[in-house]
């Protein structure tokens, strides 16, 4: 769920806005190294894909529904900086055109859903990849674990922001417990879908998965002869 207006006080919203602007600024420069002059059309199309993937709602229970956040998914598929950019652009479009997520909470949402999930997801992904056997088969489970970790971390960062600039007198510890408990569940859903999607792409076009590129490059051409 996106943070709406008035959830965090004005100073906190402005501060997260500054952090978000700085992170997006860095990502804009780094994405150029990931995509060179293809950045605009490629990131735009991937952002449209993330938006479409977020449109599918899953019933969570009690009449509410949740959807994919996609930060870790985008980071594994197109690289952390492009992924961060794509999710951030999705959030800007949702805030400006769909009133989904507050306009003053845009910085908060970009930091939580864009920056934290993409970067945490990618760091976990890379760390796991370093210790696991270098095989294509490990890419999808690794992405799933990365997605699983990224969601509760974003929830924890939200709880921290809430403790600093929250506008409701709810105990910070209670918020953290509730947010973590809830988001571990959401994280499981995020992990399953992320892992399956990455697995599906790796199966047909491993060259498109940024996180699998070193493995694809290291593969040797195998020539097998069929006995006539």
């Amino acid at each position: 769920m996106h943070v709406p207006d008035g959830f965090l006080d004005a100073p906190t919203s402005v501060a997260t806005g500054v952090v978000a602007a700085a992170a997006v600024g860095v990502a804009l420069r780094r994405a150029r190294t990931e995509l060179d002059d293809r950045t605009a059309p490629m990131a735009g199309l991937v952002a449209a894909f993330v938006f479409a993937a977020q449109m599918i709602n899953f019933p969570v229970g009690a009449g509410t529904s949740g959807h994919l956040m996609g930060g870790a998914l985008a980071a594994v598929l197109v690289g952390p900086w492009t992924g961060l950019l794509c999710v951030s652009v999705v959030l800007v479009v949702q805030a400006l055109f769909m009133a989904d997520g507050g306009i003053t909470a845009l910085g908060t949402n970009v930091v939580l859903i864009g920056v934290v999930t993409a970067l945490v997801g990618y760091v976990v992904f890379r760390a796991l990849q370093a210790v696991l056997p270098h095989r294509l088969g490990t890419v999808a489970p690794t992405a799933a674990v990365a997605a699983f970790v990224s969601v509760p971390v974003a929830a924890a960062v939200f709880s921290l922001l809430f403790a600093i600039g929250g506008t409701a007198p709810v105990d910070a510890g209670k918020v953290l417990t509730a947010m973590l408990g809830w988001h571990v569940l959401i994280g499981i859903g995020e992990a399953v879908v992320t892992g399956l999607v990455v697995g599906a792409v790796v199966a047909v076009r491993p060259d498109l998965v940024r996180g699998a590129r070193p493995l694809v490059a290291a593969r040797e051409l195998e020539i097998r002869t069929v006995a006539a």
Partner: protein, 230 residues
């Protein structure tokens, strides 16, 4: 949340609000909502004035109020959360309708609900009165990095293509007795999403090649006029 995505939030019109430059509208929106968020929640009369300003703007824009209200469903999950706050918040207890709730929690819930609602309504007013292309021109004027505006413009341009692509896939799944929302069918859904990613990515590559063949050098030519038509 899934309701009313796409460009359907724009309500065509020619009012003064529609014609106002987009960058002004964005600045006013951000300033106004920041003001609302910064206002102490005990100033009840001031919030009535804020609400009057938003409703007045909607009326001046000749956007039907019911049209705006129907699109405020994005806010519902958040209102549910606000309704829970009095029950979990700390502080002295008070009786409301036979229920024991926290008094400061009640005030906080009011603050969350009213600030969130005014914010959503104000944002909807911008979306209803401003074409996406005008918003992009406005953002560029507000010195948003050109590359970011370009990414946004490509996303908006292909949003309907990609979402319609997904929509057809989901229809095909449903017609084969598969319910994409159910976790039981997540493997099928995931394969569809994987295919959608590959299609979107390859479409991006084709768009890039088409742009190169038309003389693209890494940045889009900027339009000089203040108003851009599609």
């Amino acid at each position: 949340m899934g309701a009313a995505h796409g460009h359907r939030l724009h309500h065509h019109g020619h009012s003064a609000v529609h014609r106002a430059p987009a960058h002004l509208k964005i600045l006013v929106l951000v300033g106004f909502v920041l003001l609302v968020v910064a206002t102490p929640r005990e100033w009840y009369a001031v919030f009535a004035a804020y609400a009057a300003v938003v409703v007045g703007t909607v009326l001046v824009a000749r956007v039907p109020l019911g049209w705006v209200l129907r699109r405020m469903v994005v806010e519902v999950p958040f209102l549910v959360f606000a309704a829970l706050v009095p029950f979990v918040a700390e502080g002295p207890r008070t009786e409301v309708l036979g229920l024991t709730v926290s008094e400061p929690g009640l005030v906080a819930a009011w603050g969350l609900a009213v600030k969130g609602t005014i914010g959503v309504m104000a944002s909807l007013t911008l979306a209803a009165t401003t074409e996406p292309t005008d918003v992009l021109v406005g953002l560029r004027r507000l010195r948003m990095p050109p590359l970011l505006v370009e990414i946004m413009s490509f996303m908006l341009r292909y949003l309907d293509v990609v979402t319609a692509d997904l929509g057809r896939t989901l229809t095909a799944m449903r017609s084969r007795g598969c319910e994409p929302r159910s976790p039981r069918h997540w493997p099928v859904l995931a394969r569809s999403l994987g295919a959608l990613f590959i299609r979107s990515y390859e479409r991006g590559e084709r768009v890039h090649l088409a742009m190169l063949s038309r003389g693209y050098t890494g940045t889009l030519p900027t339009t000089t006029g203040g108003h851009e038509h599609r």
